[in-house]
C-alpha cells in the first residue's frame, strides 16, 4: 500500500495549490511545469513566485519539448542548492533517467511529480489552435480510459504510461472524477519529505492497476495496428528509401530527442562527409547519388546510438518538417532491441545501459 493523499478538488487545482504551498513554505525554491505563456502557447516554465502558478497547466496534453531534455539542461552544470519540483510526463521522466545514466544531469535536489498519462497532442496543434478545441474530448477519453485518436501515434500506442521513478504520482488516467477529486500517491521515501508538516492525513491506497491494465490492452492493440502499417513499408532497402528519401537532413529529430545528447553529432562531424574522390567512386558505382547523401545511414546510425534508450515520446515526429513517421519507426525498432536485453529505458536509475555491460553467456544464437 502507498501513502496517498485524497482531496476533494479538481486534480489540476489541487496540484496547483500543492505546488503553491511548496513555494510559499519554501519547501522548494522553484517549480518546473507547463504554463500558458500566450493566448495559445504553453511552454515549460521555471516558476519561483507562487502567483505565477495561476496560469500553470501541469497536466496539459502537449509536449513542446521533452522535459527530460530540459531537466538535463537544468541540472547538467550543477544542480540547485535548494530543492526544485518538476511536473513531467512518464516518458519525459524516463528520458531524464536515461540521460542521468549518461552523466547528463542529476536528480539531486529535484523532486519529480508525474501522473498516469493519457498522451499529448502533436505540437503543431498548438499553433493552429486545435489543441485548445480538442481539450474537452481529450479529457473525456482520459477519464473513460479510452484511446484518444488526436494524440501522437506514439501516445495512442504507449504502454508505459505509469511513471516509474516519480516521488509523487497523480492518478489521472481512467479516473472519472478528476474534476472533483485528486489522488496523489507518494511513491518514494524522498517524496515524503514534502509532506512532513502535512495536515490532511494519509490514506493507504495503490494505483487502480486493474483499470490501467485494460487501458494497456487497448493501447497494445493500437500499437499492433500501427506496427502492421509500418511492416508494409519496412520490408527492404527500397521500402526504407521510400520512407526516408524526402528527409532534409535537418536532423531536427536528433536535436529534440531526449536521448541524443552529443555536443557534436557523429553525423554532422567531418567523418560523415564525402570527399571528392568518394563522390567520384560512388558515381562510378551508382550512376547518380542524392546530395547531401547518407539519409538512410543517418537514420540507421542514429538507431544504433539511441534505440536502446528510446522512450518513444514522439518528439521527433512532431519536429520532422517532411512528416516522416520517424517516431513509430524508432519506437518499434527500439522496442525490439530493448526486449532483447530485457531492458526498459528509464525504469531504474541503477540499471546499467545494456551496451556498457555484458553477461559471459548470452546471445549464442547470433554467433556462427
Amino acid at each position: 500500500m502507498t501513502k496517498t493523499i485524497q482531496t476533494t478538488k479538481s486534480t489540476e487545482e489541487a496540484v496547483k495549490d500543492f505546488l503553491k504551498t511548496l513555494l510559499e513554505k519554501e519547501k522548494v525554491c522553484g517549480v518546473f511545469t507547463l504554463k500558458k505563456i500566450t493566448s495559445k502557447a504553453v511552454a515549460y516554465t521555471l516558476v519561483t513566485d507562487p502567483a505565477e502558478l495561476d496560469d500553470a497547466v501541469p497536466l496539459y496534453p502537449l509536449m513542446p519539448v521533452n522535459a527530460g531534455k530540459l531537466l538535463s539542461r537544468f541540472s547538467l552544470k550543477g544542480s540547485s542548492k535548494k530543492p526544485v519540483i518538476a511536473v513531467v510526463k512518464p516518458c519525459e521522466l524516463r528520458g531524464f533517467v536515461e540521460l542521468i545514466k549518461r552523466e547528463q544531469g542529476s536528480i539531486d535536489n529535484l523532486f519529480i511529480m508525474s501522473f498516469t498519462c493519457g498522451g499529448v497532442f502533436p505540437t503543431s496543434t498548438e499553433v493552429d489552435g486545435t489543441a485548445e478545441k480538442q481539450l474537452g474530448s481529450y479529457w473525456e477519453t482520459v477519464k473513460k480510459g479510452m484511446v484518444n485518436k488526436d494524440v501522437r501515434p506514439t501516445c495512442q500506442s504507449c504502454e508505459e504510461f505509469i511513471p516509474y521513478t516519480a516521488d509523487i504520482t497523480l492518478e489521472v488516467l481512467g479516473k472519472t472524477d478528476i474534476d472533483k477529486q485528486c489522488i496523489m500517491h507518494i511513491t518514494s521515501k524522498k517524496g515524503e519529505l514534502l509532506f512532513e508538516d502535512n495536515k490532511n492525513k494519509f490514506i493507504e491506497k495503490d494505483l487502480d492497476t486493474k483499470k490501467l491494465d485494460t487501458i494497456r490492452k487497448q493501447r497494445s492493440q493500437e500499437k499492433e495496428k500501427l506496427y502492421e502499417q509500418l511492416d508494409k513499408k519496412l520490408t527492404n532497402i527500397d521500402g526504407l528509401i521510400e520512407i526516408f528519401s524526402k528527409c532534409l537532413s535537418c536532423h531536427g529529430c536528433s536535436k529534440v530527442c531526449p536521448i541524443c545528447y552529443c555536443k557534436l553529432c557523429e553525423f554532422e562531424s567531418a567523418d560523415a562527409e564525402y570527399g571528392p574522390s568518394q563522390y567520384d567512386s560512388e558515381l562510378k558505382k551508382r550512376g547518380g547519388l542524392r546530395v547531401p547523401p547518407g539519409t538512410i545511414y543517418f537514420q540507421l546510425g542514429r538507431l544504433s546510438h539511441i534505440s536502446i534508450s528510446c522512450v518513444a515520446c514522439g518528439a521527433c515526429d512532431d519536429v520532422c518538417p517532411v512528416d516522416i513517421p520517424v517516431a513509430m519507426i524508432f519506437k518499434k525498432i527500439g522496442e525490439s532491441v530493448q526486449q532483447m536485453f530485457d531492458y526498459v529505458p528509464g525504469k531504474d536509475y541503477d540499471e546499467p545501459i545494456p551496451l556498457v555491460t555484458f553477461e559471459n553467456e548470452e546471445f549464442s544464437e547470433i554467433e556462427e
Binding site: 532497402i237 532491441v337 555484458f358
Partner: protein, 145 residues
C-alpha cells in the same frame, strides 16, 4: 544501374578480423594452404570491439554483399572483455537491420581463434555460399540512399 548477373556472381564480403585471434586464424588457413573463395576482404582491427556498428552499416549501405565480424572466443579476448561488448553491439545492430526490413543475414559474427585456420576457411566458405543465395546487395546501386 542493372545488377551483375547472378551466375559468376562473386560476393564482396568485408571481414573485420581482430589482430590476435581471427587475423592469426586467417593467416593459419593460409600457411595450411586451405582454399576458400576470394570473396573475403580482410580489414584488420586490434580488437573486435573496435568495430563500431557504424562501420558495418557503412559497408552494408556502401554495397558490401556481406559483413563478417570475427574475434577471439568469449573469455579469450586479448583485451579481456572486448568481444563481450562486440557481441552486444552486434546483437543490437542485427535487430535494427531486421527491424528496418533489411537483410540481417548479410551480417555475421564468428569467433575464430588463432589456431582455427580450418574454421576460418569454413566460415569464409559457408558465408560466401549463403551470400550467393541472397544475391548481390542491391543497396550498392541505390541513388537515393
Amino acid at each position: 544501374m542493372n545488377m551483375k548477373k547472378n551466375e559468376e556472381f562473386m560476393p564482396k564480403i568485408i571481414a573485420f578480423l581482430c589482430n590476435w585471434c581471427s587475423y592469426a586464424g586467417a593467416d593459419l588457413a593460409g600457411t595450411s594452404r586451405i582454399k576458400y573463395p576470394p570473396s573475403i576482404l580482410p580489414v584488420r582491427v586490434m580488437c573486435s570491439s573496435r568495430v563500431d556498428p557504424l562501420f558495418v552499416l557503412n559497408a552494408y549501405l556502401g554495397g558490401a554483399d556481406g559483413v563478417l565480424v570475427a574475434g577471439c572466443h568469449p573469455g579469450d579476448c586479448h583485451y579481456q572483455e572486448g568481444n563481450y561488448f562486440t557481441r552486444r553491439r552486434f546483437a543490437m545492430l542485427k535487430k535494427i537491420v531486421e527491424g528496418a526490413g533489411l537483410e540481417s543475414d548479410r551480417l555475421r559474427l564468428s569467433w575464430v581463434s588463432a589456431s582455427e585456420g580450418t574454421k576460418y576457411a569454413q566460415v569464409a566458405t559457408d558465408f560466401t555460399s549463403k551470400i550467393k543465395e541472397l544475391g548481390a546487395n542491391s543497396a550498392k546501386y541505390k541513388i537515393f540512399i
